[in-house]
Amino acid sequence: MIMKSIVGIWLAFAFIIFACTFNDRDFQIKGVKANPTLALPLAFGDLSISDILKKGDAAQIKVKPDGLVYLAYDQALLSRDIRNLIDIPNIGSTIVQLLVPPGTYPANGNDIISTSSSKTVDMGISPEKLNEIGFKSGELTYNAVLSPANANFKYAVQIAIPEFISGNGSSFFQEVSGAGSIPLSDYIFKGATANRFTLQLTLIIKQSTTPVTIPVGTYLNTSISLAGMDFNYVEGFFGDQIANPPPQTIDIGAFGTSFANGATVSFAQPVFNLNVVSDYGVPLTVAFSKLEARKQDGTSLKIQTNPASPISIIAPTTLGTSATTPVVVTNVSQVVNFAPNQFYYQVSGHINAGKVSGANFMADTSQMRVKLHIEIPMYGQASNIVLADTMDIDLGDIDQTTIDSAALKVSVTNQLPLDATIQFILADSKYHFIDSLLTASQSRIVVGSTVDSNGDLQSPGVVDTSYPLVNSQISKIFKAKKIIVRSKLNTSKNSSGSPVDVKFKSQYKIKLNLGLRVTFKLSDNF
């Protein structure tokens, strides 16, 4: 009986196990839904005024000992146009004929000095009247030809130029025959008469072991020419001449286009220095035919100087030195506040104006430098400065329906005395306006710091908020192909709302974090 019961229990248990139905449909998951909300950082920055200034001005951004940031622009016009006024022309072929005395010459054991001739040569330099030329290059070319030819007659010609002094103090003296050339570098022309030298040639009958007969009417014809002459220095009178260098520009990147469209700016304590440095030992007058600040929109402002143009430039007293003539810009604030994009200037240099004589000098390396030094301190006030940049946006790969909601998180701690409203403008591929992401009240994302009476930081401006984006806005983001980030900047105002001069120091930072919080609607059916 017990056995039967036990077996019955086992059978019942087995029946229960095997009678259980297994329906695999309960384990076939047909779909899934999820609504995850992700918080993601978009961008961050710990930016100083140096980062915000246009990158083209990076080399010009300087910091004063107290941390005040300023833009320093330096440029020098290197003009060699006055030096280039002086040119030493080639001296064409000068023929000197020496008579060879006729007769029969016995064999002789020594050279015999024969006939000679002398000629004054004008170098053709004008209007300069040079008494001294240190030759850097050039050569004297000669060609001595016996006429009629006589192969048995041995001869040479001595060429002497007393005004050409070599490095060892001796004058030019060379014995040559046939054709050839002699370099003139390291010779110095020193002439009592400007621009002229004496060319002396002498026939030398060379020693011979055989007698020779010279017929009547035999001449030694020697041609002399000088070419390729340039100078290390010149002294004398350079004449009344004018040099016209090409115009020069200095680009100012800092202001870009941001200061157009109604922006006003006022910089405190700007610096604008203009110095003319001359190496020329000659009375020089510089005339600025153009000296102005220019904007990209074509407007310009004349830069006024003291002394006014034309300006007499101080000359150095000795060769190899320089002399500086300071020029003061009298409307410097006006010029800097004009927020120019470029400085443009054109000068001309006038030497020996109205003079007919004088003791001038210059070296081959002499030049005139017009040096500009501009300092624009980031100290002052500005309003309506517009910064804008365009970014491509293409969310075509994302299914818009998977976005349920989104919000832009903004966290800004701003030590810069600069308020900013930022707007994200959505546009299609042809920049046609679609919508703006933020309302007017939302767009004041950056609050400027407050400053004390010296314009120094008092307390930073803080914004930490979240801007919900409604579905219609999200939909437009997906339609957009361009997103234009446009910000309008104003320097901080005082407690009564009046603009004050503020300082941008290198240690002031704007700590900015942008984040995005997105809730997705994800679902899938299998």
Binding site: I9, I29, G31, A34, P36, A39, L40, F44, S411, L514
Partner: protein, 494 residues
Amino acid sequence: MKNRTLLFLVMACLAWSRLSAQSEGTLTLMNSLPQVVNNNPAFIPKYKISIGLPGSSIMGYYANNAFSYNDMIRHVNDSVKADLSKLSGALKPKNYITQVVQVDLFRLGLRINSKLYVTLNSTAKAYSREMVPKDLVQVFVNGNTTSIGKTETLSPKAESFSLIETAVGGAYQINNKLTLGTRIKFINGLTNVTTESSTLNLTTDKSTYALTASAGMDVRTSGIYNLTQSNYDLGSNIGKYFSNFGLAIDIGATYKIFDRLTVGASLIDLGSIHWKNNTYGYTLDPAKATYTFQGVDLGRVLNGDNSYLSSLGDSLQNKFKVKEGSIGSYNTPLPGKMYLTGMYEIKKNFTVGGVFYAEKFRDRLSASLTIGVNKHFGKVFSAAGSYSMVSNTYNNFGLGMSLNLSPIQLYIVGDNLLNASVVKDVNSFVSQTKFFNVRLGLNFVIGFDKKTQKEKKEKNAQSQGVDPYQPDEVDTVKRKKYDNYSPDKVKKKY
């Protein structure tokens, strides 16, 4: 007062350990099964001789300390949809999913005399435990906004091994009250995956949403990498899989506090395995693998650093690139277990008992509690019923049955079997089960417990008017056993 303190300690321990472990509470109650010695080597089963042959007994175990299938889905009309929010709500901070399979290759239990019982067994075991942190699931289900300003722990961990264990053990009855047992296990590890360390933390800054990720990893494997290689010839290398040697010991004791109440304690699998075959590691340097993404760096963009964004990706890849390669040998511990048992024989062949179980493996200490009854219906049929609190579930009604048709014993036992047997269909059971274990098979058994035989003899003697407690000339052990009892006492007791 002592009981209250004990109860408090047990409850505190359970609460702390979150009720999850690889326990077999109901089996512990069933002394008719030779396998009961698995849980305490001091246990002496009912049969003098028991033999198991390859594959004659198997055990399967599944535990999920957090969620069931029902917690993952919802029924919409006639179909099933995944419900991730529901799943997320059901998760624990650390979600452990454990699977175990054991197959007896050979088993011999032999009672040498009334004091000594020896066992010899060989068992193939496979163990796998995965830990999935709640934060990891939540990031996918809810995103990272639920933990803004906090650090999310995303790193999963895995422990897995397969082995063949050959053990020899014995239980020795020191006196009428105390029995001690031990078992030495010689282990051949086959495959292993172990997570020495694993971290993947993600922090979302409350103010800026900046994401900070830091990671570290030291995962070691043995005998796995080669199997993933297409040209690997397992057949010619099978011998290498037996080169991972391990050693473990089980110790246990039972103590009869008084005649009907016996308590026991055991420590199981105290040992480790030395892995040296095809050891391959995956590491990530925590000092290097850390990065904070704050978004696009406007400073660098404004300064015209055009290569910045592309270099950002390269930098991330380099920082979080997992380094892999062959490594040296290493040791792993076995999941160490502890059983505390108490059995009270309410009346003849009817015992109530409680089993407290704890397991320590890697950085996890888990526990369970089982209370139950065991009844021998003669020597032919034994049954047990139990209730277990395990794997964070409190509806586990276990069942054990053994049909003792000596020399064949059929049995099945499991801590959640009763639930399985009363539900209408398998679907319901599978869908709502977070914990399930079953051990079943057959043993060859000979010689039911002497005490039971003696009791039968007593019964017969009483019916024949013979004093059953007179010493038996051929059974000196029996004489000793009852030396301390007067017949009157025993008569009164029974």
